[in-house]
């Protein structure tokens, strides 16, 4: 397969219904009203030369090369800014047009490196192609005038430039500060595509055109280096640039890629589709795919650029074994590692019982891989001891939405936001954690939608260039349920609920019960304000806006779920949506923003100890029979152990072996010291990962994992979209993860013979009603589909609960606020909450191994100026962060983004390990840890805590690999 070149229609698609027919160069074309002539021509197969137009952006009309002639009209209008008309007769080629275009192009070239006869950049840019298409044969304007091209030094010393040295007063040096792309101003033709992409597509407004006339040039912020500017490195400008002024460094260094493979990003739950562009067996760049239904051609710094971890030298490519965790690692063959693991697991089960081992599936791996791990546990281990990292993030979403609406997933597709009037954002920071979707939210906000932000921190969606929240409720961490009940109180007591909707689609009795509950004066805005630390009137206003402001959509993240009342808060959100009738159509809904690429999929695939794929309880005989018949074994009807229970059992001595695929529980799970104790107590810990991660310090067997570039399969994003992952390069460690799991199953004596992940999906489809229509063929044909995908919805279901809630009737649940047991007091007077930053991802195993460290080299503690002053802490000081669990040290960032009494940090770096200070409190329903609230104290510090020192030593010890014995 060659390089995929997507057609650029020049201007965006018109979405009006009425069709218009015109003739372009003798061809008849029918397009929707409002379409540009340029786009209509391209749809008819006629490419009009262009420089400033691209179909990701509205037309601009500045480059003057896309001119056409229209019969009956004077002049030569620009085809990008001229709309089609019925019966129009357009000519794109004529002597006059050729002459004008050549003249314009000559002017461009006279101030461009190609004018010097230099081969600028790749030589394969759109500019180069257009110069060729227009047929430029001379440059009558010469290159002796004032220009942007060659530095004075070069002119004087190297004799590169003809004429006088003074001619180069407008030269600007190349900006190489961004780790991933360069900006060469000499190649800039001031078409503004980058500026418009940054504003309209990304919504950051980091770029501008400086100056006027001949001196004008694109610059970042106030003519700053890109890396120091407001730029978030999403890559939209690089993608939009028609010259090589903005170009990926990898392309400049290694040359143009030769082939593309369309695949799905393996970072967050947005699930962007990319073209992986490859030369030989090396990925040169990732280009966002315009047909991607969740990203529509946009990307963020992680998906677009941060894939270097796949070839990082830290990757372990050989299986390894050791007897004790204090021994150095010994590289072994796959056969030896698998045989040893199988033997150990069988020994442990024989010695300590069938339930003494288990597995953890990964939200980073494919559906097929996750399915195999849970199948291995249920069929091979004979128990239900399987859990997944969703335990620590969105398990309350599954529980809460299932209880109220009857499905464990978000209700909408991302496109739905285009019809939203009021967004209610709680406990999520999309501009950092879900950047591509955040860009779409911002776009909708700039179009006039309004947003209510409930978050202890002043995030970018509260206020950033060109967007501002209607209301920001900076609640105290841990009071989500109180604020949601407070909002409900206003909606019910002011009769802002949608009685007709509730009577049709919800259980009226449940509503009445809930309405009575929330109407209690205890939940009035005034009382709520006391609990949450926000203004009562703002609560009233926000409630009225959500209930009566048109289409109201709720978006939430881990700031809702990772609490002792996470499940209650999710139900509180569903209550609000149902009460206001904001369910079951475009523009509304309850939308969890999933953290990981496949956290939805790993939950769907039966990763929980009590559920088979499709959220069916293991105790249900009819469901168990499906799998018993297929797998030929009797299955356990008792739910297995959750991750925290496995660790507890390990400490107690009843749980002794674990297979962990692609999750670093030591770093991502709460109360690190407890996790460490649990792992240390086990006899066979098998870590299947890309790197010797933190958990691997306690492992006895290491199986090398494969990146998303090295496998086929599917990921399911936050909108239930099943996206295809295609193998781009061969697995670097011999096996894709699904193959490794299959080999382990075989070593355990199971008769597994999958030859391709599509066969695993066939098995999933055959056994899971919500997936029964899914095949790889369908996904290849459609690009992606959203489950449920079955006989009733053969092409999937973008919006759920239309004409009726899946549960039958929507269920309202009382949401009594119970303050967490984690309370501030004299010793620990501040509340710590945690989150992410744009350039890093989760525990950072991948992004720390890429150029992204340019933006976030360490975790910082955000603290309000008042709290900092009280403690004598200045910006950048080392501080000790201590809680009832433990302590760690990091640097302080003094900012009023956080309220007084609240501190905030990220958890991307193992040196900091924010999770050593978090507690072991968990959600009452799902054991999801309460990461978002910890009572802490901050004090000035000189350096690493005792814990960090010990940890560093242990890290060095535990990562020794005895290279001498490597099997050659």
């Amino acid at each position: 397969m060659g390089l995929i070149t997507e057609i650029d229609y020049g201007t965006p698609e018109s979405k009006t219904g009425k069709q218009v027919t015109l003739t372009v160069d003798g061809k008849t074309v029918t397009v929707p009203e409002g379409t540009s002539i340029m786009r209509a021509a391209m749809e008819g197969g006629v490419e009009i030369p262009k420089l400033c137009a691209t179909d990701m952006l509205d037309s601009f009309g500045s480059c003057r090369v896309c001119l056409v002639e229209i019969e009956g009209r004077n002049g030569t209008p620009a085809s990008c800014t001229t709309q089609v008309g019925e019966g129009m007769v357009v000519h794109t080629v004529s002597e006059r047009l050729d002459t004008i275009r050549r003249g314009v192009m000559e002017l461009y070239v006279s101030d461009h490196p190609t004018g010097w006869g230099e081969n600028a950049g790749t030589g394969a840019s759109e500019f180069d192609r257009m110069a060729e298409k227009i047929g430029l044969s001379e440059n009558r304007f010469g290159v002796e005038g004032r220009n942007h091209v060659v530095a004075e030094d070069a002119a004087a010393g190297g004799g590169v430039a003809p004429g006088e040295g003074a001619l180069t007063i407008d030269y600007m040096v190349k900006d190489e500060s961004n780790p991933y792309f360069t900006y060469d101003p000499s190649q800039c033709i001031v078409c503004s595509r980058c500026v418009r992409a940054c504003a309209d597509v990304q919504g950051t407004f980091a770029l501008t055109i400086e100056g006027r006339g001949f001196e004008s040039r694109m610059v970042a912020s106030m003519n700053e280096d890109f890396v120091d500017s407001e730029c978030v490195s999403c890559g939209a400008c690089v993608q939009a640039c028609p010259t090589d002024a903005l170009r990926e460094k990898a392309v400049l260094e290694k040359g143009m890629p030769e082939r593309s493979v369309v695949t799905t990003c393996a970072y967050c739950g947005v699930g962007c589709n990319f073209k992986a562009e490859v030369k030989g067996d090396e990925v040169i760049r990732m280009m966002p795919y315009k047909d991607g239904k969740s990203n529509h051609g946009h990307s963020c710094v992680k998906g677009r650029f941060a894939y270097g971890y796949a070839t990082h030298s830290d990757r372990i490519l050989s299986p390894m074994l050791r007897e004790k965790i204090t021994d150095p690692w010994r590289e072994v063959t796959w056969e030896e590692a698998l045989a040893h693991t199988a033997k150990e697991f069988r020994r442990i089960q024989h010695q300590y019982g069938r339930g003494s081992i288990g597995g953890i599936t990964s939200s980073r791996c494919t559906d097929e891989e996750t399915y195999l791990v849970q199948k291995l546990v249920r069929q091979g281990f004979g128990n239900n001891n399987v859990d997944t990292c969703a335990r620590v993030c969105h398990s309350p979403t599954g529980y809460g939405l299932n209880t109220t609406l009857g499905t464990s997933a978000g209700t909408q597709d991302f496109d739905s936001v285009e019809e939203t009037d009021v967004m209610l954002l709680i406990g999520a920071n999309p501009t950092d954690a879900h950047p591509v979707f955040a860009s779409r939210m911002k776009k909708r906000l700039r179009e006039g939608a309004r947003i209510i932000v409930i978050d202890p921190r002043r995030t970018d969606l509260v206020r950033s260039p060109h967007i501002e929240a209607a209301y920001h409720l900076p609640i105290k961490p841990g009071t989500n349920v109180a604020i949601l009940t407070g909002l409900a109180h206003v909606i019910v007591t002011e009769k802002l609920y949608d009685e007709a909707y509730i009577r049709s689609y919800c259980e009226w009795d449940a509503f009445e019960d809930w309405a009575e509950f929330v109407s209690d004066p205890r939940y009035s805005p005034e009382e709520t304000a006391k609990v949450c630390g926000v203004d009562a009137e703002t609560i009233r206003q926000a409630a009225r806006l959500y209930a009566a402001g048109g289409n109201g959509a709720i978006f939430y993240g881990l700031g809702v779920t990772e609490h002792s009342q996470g499940s209650t808060a999710v139900m509180g959100l569903a209550n609000l949506a149902m009460a206001t009738g904001n369910i079951g159509r475009n523009g509304v809904g309850v939308n969890p923003l999933r953290g990981q690429n496949n956290v939805q999929g790993s939950c769907d695939m039966g990763s929980f100890p009590h559920e088979f794929p499709g959220y069916r309880h293991v105790a249900t005989d009819s469901v168990r029979k499906i799998y018993e018949d297929l797998w030929g074994v009797a299955l356990d009807k008792e739910p297995g152990l959750r991750i925290p229970n496995m660790l507890d059992a390990a400490v107690d001595g009843t749980f002794r072996g674990i297979y962990i695929q692609g999750e670093d529980i030591l770093q991502s799970d709460p109360d690190t010291t407890h996790v460490a104790a649990g792992l240390a107590a086990m006899e066979c810990v098998v870590v299947h990962d890309l790197f010797l991660n933190e958990t691997a310090r306690y492992a006895h067997v290491f199986l090398p994992g494969s990146t998303f570039l090295e496998k086929d399969g599917t990921f399911i994003n936050a909108e239930r979209r099943i996206n295809l992952v295609h193998k781009v390069i061969e697995p670097k460690a011999r096996y894709a993860d699904w193959e490794a799991t299959q080999e382990l199953a075989r070593a355990l004596g199971l008769d597994w013979n999958y030859t391709h992940p599509s066969e695993i999906m066939d098995e999933i489809a055959a056994t899971t009603p919500t997936f029964s229509g899914v095949t790889f063929d369908l996904l290849e044909r459609e690009g992606s589909v959203q489950w449920p995908c079955n006989e009733k919805a053969p092409l999937g279901t973008p919006v759920m609960h239309i004409n009726g809630i899946v549960r039958g009737k929507g269920n309202f649940v009382r949401t009594e606020y119970v303050a967490t047991d984690e309370k501030v007091g004299p010793r620990f007077p501040l509340l710590l909450t945690t989150g992410r930053i744009l350039s890093q991802y989760n525990v950072g195993a991948q992004t720390r191994r890429t150029g992204n460290v340019a933006w976030h080299a360490e975790d910082m503690l955000e603290i309000h100026p008042h709290d900092a002053e009280d403690r004598g802490i200045r910006n950048g000081d080392w501080v000790r962060l201590s809680s009832r669990s433990n302590e760690t040290t990091l640097r302080a960032l003094v900012t009023d983004r956080v309220a007084p009494g609240v501190v905030y940090t990220t958890f991307h770096h193992p040196e900091t390990q924010a999770n050593v200070v978090t507690t072991d409190y968990t959600d009452w329903a799902t054991s999801c840890p309460e990461f978002k609230v910890t009572a802490v104290q901050i004090a000035p510090s000189n350096g690493p805590s005792e814990w960090q020192r010990e940890y560093d030593e242990l890290t060095a010890m535990s990562r020794r690999i005895a290279r001498v014995e490597a099997a050659e």
Partner: protein
Amino acid sequence: MKMQPSGIDIAARAASIVNEMRGMEGPLLPILHSIQEEFGHVPQEVLPVIATGLNLSRADVHGVVSFYHDFRKVPAGRHVLKLCQAESCQAMGSDAVAAALKQKLGIGFHGTTKDGAVTLEPVYCLGLCACSPAAMLDGEVIGRLDEDSIEEIVQEVRI
């Protein structure tokens, strides 16, 4: 000449100007004019203050400021002399007028004399084509420049 305030004063004063004027329709240009009036130029450090105040990006503000030559990056001299260099004035000898003034003042276009007395700038049409060659001194237009009026100007700006 106004005292040059320190960096903190500039930011604080700029913030109060932004606060006073942010309610206007299209407030950016009026704010920039007020800033220039206040400080004699538009200091770089006020750009982020304006950006924050108006909820724009720094790039947005920089793009606008750099587009208009009348917004100065550094303070001008006590007097500002603008010489028209547009077509009509060129036809009536503005080149020679410019050369004479540059020579007498010892500065080029966009330059300020060492004593801070005067800044010389080209301008492209003052709308005084009927009285070419034309100039503008501290906001007052002067038409039909000749040797005498040039000498007068030089004397005046030296004060």
